[in-house]
Symmetry: C2
Subunit: 436 residues, 2 copies
Amino acid sequence: IESESAEAVLDKLEGLHPTDIAELMDELSMDEAKYLYLLLDPERASDVLVEIPENERRRFLRVLPPELIARQFIEYMDSDDAADVVGDLEDDMKEAVLQEMKDKEQAGDIADLLEYDEDSAGGLMAKELIKVNENWTVQTSLKEISAQAEHIDEIYYVYVVDDGGFLKGILSLTKLILNPTNSKIKTLLEDDLHYVKTDATQEEVAQLMERFDLVAIPVVDHIGRLKGRITIDDVVDVIREEAEKDYQMVSGITGDVESGDRVWNLTRARLPWLLIGLLGGILGARVLGANESALAQIQGIAFFIPLIAAMAGNVGVQSSSIVVQTIASGARDFDSIGKKLLKELAVGLITALVFSSLIFVYNFTFGDSLKLTWAVSISLFIVIVFASLFGTTIPLVLNKLKIDPALATGPFITTTNDILGLIMYMMVAKTFFDIV
Amino acid sequence: IESESAEAVLDKLEGLHPTDIAELMDELSMDEAKYLYLLLDPERASDVLVEIPENERRRFLRVLPPELIARQFIEYMDSDDAADVVGDLEDDMKEAVLQEMKDKEQAGDIADLLEYDEDSAGGLMAKELIKVNENWTVQTSLKEISAQAEHIDEIYYVYVVDDGGFLKGILSLTKLILNPTNSKIKTLLEDDLHYVKTDATQEEVAQLMERFDLVAIPVVDHIGRLKGRITIDDVVDVIREEAEKDYQMVSGITGDVESGDRVWNLTRARLPWLLIGLLGGILGARVLGANESALAQIQGIAFFIPLIAAMAGNVGVQSSSIVVQTIASGARDFDSIGKKLLKELAVGLITALVFSSLIFVYNFTFGDSLKLTWAVSISLFIVIVFASLFGTTIPLVLNKLKIDPALATGPFITTTNDILGLIMYMMVAKTFFDIV
């Protein structure tokens, strides 16, 4: 890249979307990336900056002076993106950047947004919105909207407030166009609207917008004053992130990694859960070590260790995933916890019956020892029922405790069930063969 | 519910959203559900019908006469929802319903939509849209928009076509309002726009809209004539579905189940992958059975079976999930397949080194046999490297073959890696202890 002239590089970037350029930046060295940024016009450079991953951005901004950050990047961003970027900076850098901004109103908006928790509705919202007073006429409103619309890419709804700034309703542009110019806004507004409070969680916002197919939702403070709006594109990102988080959890990856990432990032994302797997394996070895005499005396008992462990793990992951997915979808659930567990018990019993019968038939046909055949089937039965209930209970309990229930999927539940399964298998087998 | 009067029931349903009512319906018997439907006014009843799961809907519609379906439900729906519902009916029922419709234009639209594959852009789009001719003035356009807007809930963009119906550009309402009434549309339109062809897959549509933060996207046929539009709310559903599908795959569940579902559905969704787990367990038992002499002669060798199997499974799931997630995110990937595998090899080698060293230290400290200590560590090393490469390769190959790469996550990869891990462990151990 470096060998080409500035024009040639710019030419190549011309057709690319900011997201693509951001991904490309990720592959470059710091100096190359910096060079590229300064080549781009500020509008585009800020779009790219919004798209690059947080830690990369932080590293990059650390080497730039606050004036440059303020005037080259922040001033070209919408308030919500600007707040995200500024929020990532160190405290004194934050202040310096905000002070360097020429647009004092936007600096104020960003400072306001920084007050909110990043994962709340307040942290997601943008200050840019179109609002009209309920006492205005259509004509006045249209004029005001033209003035306000300069700073806004796209208008989805016009929000209606009273003199005190309290949200009274919404109005679609369609309605404004279709009504006589002297109608009062008050008579046109839709007051049966959805809104969220600034401290709603981003999951709540996403569920509400998804459920009611909203494109934008207004955000109000505790007494109902209009503070900002959240648009669907930010919510799509939230939905995607939430889904990815749950997916990563169940597959035992920490953090958002893709195969394009550096080797070290890829490795680091995998070590924590593998460590749990290793500890589980060591515990499993201890369980088996404690049953050394059974292993030595019962011929063939070791053969079914992988089967019991795998079934326990799989059943546990299935049960916990169903619970996690149900919670994540935010669907109203008419079942009580008791009913859920009873159902899961039924599912567990059926599943257990099916698979312990299958393995019974297999062992009865091909095995040598009837005692072992019984021991394996009975253990498998107990293990499956137990793993179902355990896999259902743990995420429900975590959710009650306000801990992310997805923690109880994947390697954690597999490992726990592996060990518990082994313990049960050994106990049942020893009972059958009268070994103490 | 049945014991209360119609008014009391309606009162209770008043505040609920169609999605909630749909979930409630799911809990009721057929007769109760039918009774409820006929209580609701048609507009609301159709909203509810759109929200209930496909198989429930099919069962329910089978008992109704075509006139009722046409006039009570279909005529109140947007063309895209109507096409989904009608598309689910049996062929002769489809025709009957379309013929019973009074609104012949809508019947025609639905018939058009039924031509497209359900998972394509054509299957996702709605026919309802606002379009203006490029030769009109702002004033004419506003008048036309008012007329067209009657059938449409919300306008996001106005599409501009030429006399032949070819898509020329888009126009935001904002722009229409802010410009003089005698301006020609031609001079105002934005012609650098995103669009999809009718045969684009729904994943492509979702990725495009997500990437460029679009609220609606126009759909054109192969020669560029405007055919319909897709709105973000349908795409949010696609994104959610795709994410759920991958999640279910990695957790070993087939089909879209939630803990609120019936016991039989919950059980059925879990049996297929557990069956694979069982077969894997039996194969594992065979592998161990074939190594009976090694198991009998090497004291303690059985203790580490769960450890080797668990690590192989976990590493494999992690590797395959990272690949699947990268493919699903649709991010441009600048790495070639060769580079990916080299990286994965590096990740595998580091991970393998870390964990085989850890287990070496553990066994060296607490174990009795130095030979077994070496055998376990070396096996674990080989197994981890192999599982990384295997977990990365399989989904890449499936993707090349146009098979959903997510198939290679979860129980499939765990089970395969379990067995291969056991084979390697036995081979290494026998080499160390000189057993043939």
